[in-house]
């Protein structure tokens, strides 16, 4: 609860749900755009899909905000993947993702305290 209050008051760049999903996908390592698209879809069991327009518009904004950066692909990259750009999360991106995760966790805690999650908790 107190975490949620602090997070809500903490100044910082607002990120969209799409940007948060991209940061979560890139937390495992550098990926190209299609890899991010796949990772998000698999992590959310198909509930969240990032079409190319939303994905690359978010990537453009996150590059400008310094949350992600272009990087070289992994050493064992296939020939077909050489021309693709790879993106990696930056320390600033990791901080923003952590803050957003705490904010969401606080909100979930609040919802649980208000019994909005009854019947859905597995714990």
């Amino acid at each position: 609860m107190s975490d949620a209050s602090r997070s809500a008051e903490t100044p910082g760049p607002e990120i969209t749900p799409a940007a948060f999903h991209i940061l979560l996908a890139l937390a495992d390592g550098a990926m190209h755009g299609y890899g991010v698209m796949q990772a998000v879809e698999e992590a959310t069991h198909g509930e969240v899909r990032l079409p190319p327009g939303t994905l690359y518009r978010s990537i453009k904004k996150m590059l400008a905000a310094g949350l992600i950066e272009e990087t070289e692909g992994p050493a064992d990259v296939e020939e077909d993947d050489e021309r693709r750009r790879y993106y990696a999360i930056t320390p600033a991106g990791r901080r923003v993702a952590t803050r957003e995760a705490r904010r969401l966790a606080g909100l979930v805690g609040l919802a649980r305290a208000k019994r909005f999650l009854e019947g859905t908790d597995t714990a």
Partner: protein
């Protein structure tokens, strides 16, 4: 059952169409965004569609969602870019520059402000590469021509309704045996029994197709003909354009002098034959064509250009039955 190659071909076709469509959508994005991310976006879309680990229906839905999302985000990108441009121009004007234009204030250029610039750029590129331009134009011409032809065929076969009053209620009835696939022609006595005893159909009519010799003033010509009873017009829900169809009742067929073989008692010709056959006066009603070995017509009409439902079966004493529910 669908084969793997059919599914692969469908997936490949879907990818070609979706990527082609998305190339057009990309034109709506600001040029810098398109240059920076365009090829990556196309590659991601293509890979997502051809991914065999996902169902084809999912790929189709994703392609449609991607196109809709592309149009939406392209508009947002353009709006943001113009806002940024206006901010820069405003700052330049306050700094003593000329970015604000002669009017002095920031000028809203609208989301299509770059369109003319993009078009001029595209035309310059096309002029500089005549070979590429020729290949593109030929490809487009072939594509449009092929699509037009395919659509014409598909429209005639699937989209355009049959020219009858209520084609969805027409049923073709035939006889079937355990030893042969499909249906075959019914005998005339069977038809009479069906017609007398059935309660499922509003009306029934018998027809069978046969080539006929049509003779009048000139040399005889070979035409596709159909023997039927007069109730066929009721079943199809059409009327003669000229003349009349006598004996159109719900009682026995018009030609029932013999229970085994009906005797022709009238004739009707299609509009196409009438156009070729008509005298300068344009009238054919009341004139009697000779068909086959008969020359005993009492009714001559002209049906709409639809003609009758055709059967590929040879003429025989048996016929096919069309019924209207």
């Amino acid at each position: 059952m669908r084969t793997a190659s059919t599914l692969t071909l469908r997936r490949w076709l879907l990818a070609v169409v979706a990527v082609g469509l998305y190339r057009i959508v990309l034109l709506a994005y600001p040029a810098p965004f398109r240059r920076r991310f365009g090829s990556e976006m196309l590659g991601a879309l293509r890979r997502r569609i051809v991914d065999r680990g996902r169902p084809l229906g999912s790929a189709l839905r994703f392609a449609l969602a991607a196109v809709a999302d592309g149009l939406r985000t392209a508009r947002l990108e353009r709006l943001e870019r113009h806002e940024e441009t206006n901010v820069v121009r405003d700052a330049a004007r306050h700094a003593g520059g000329t970015g604000g234009g002669a009017g002095g204030g920031p000028r809203w250029r609208g989301p299509l402000a770059d369109l003319d610039q993009d078009l001029r750029h595209a035309l310059r590129l096309l002029r500089q590469r005549p070979g590429f331009t020729t290949a593109t134009v030929l490809t487009l011409a072939l594509g449009i021509g092929a699509n037009t032809m395919i659509f014409t065929v598909a429209s005639g076969m699937f989209l355009r309704p049959l020219p009858y009053a209520d084609p969805g209620r027409l049923v073709n009835v035939g006889e079937a045996t355990r030893d042969a696939d499909g249906t075959m022609s019914a005998s005339y006595p069977n038809y009479l029994d069906w017609r007398r005893d059935q309660q499922a159909f509003e009306e029934m009519a018998l027809y069978w197709d046969t080539p006929l010799n049509l003779a009048h003033d000139d040399a005889p010509v070979r035409v596709n003909g159909t023997y039927t009873d007069v109730t066929l017009l009721d079943v199809l829900g059409v009327d003669p354009m000229l003349g009349r169809a006598s004996g159109r009742t719900r009682t026995a067929p018009a030609a029932t002098s013999s229970r085994c073989c009906p005797t022709p008692s009238g004739s009707a010709i299609s509009r196409g034959i009438r156009t070729r056959w008509a005298r300068p006066s344009g009238s054919t009603a009341g004139r009697t064509p000779s068909s086959g070995s008969c020359r005993r017509g009492s009714t001559s009409g002209s049906t709409p250009s639809c003609g009758c439902p055709t059967s590929s079966r040879p003429a025989s004493s048996a016929g096919r039955t069309t019924a209207s529910t």
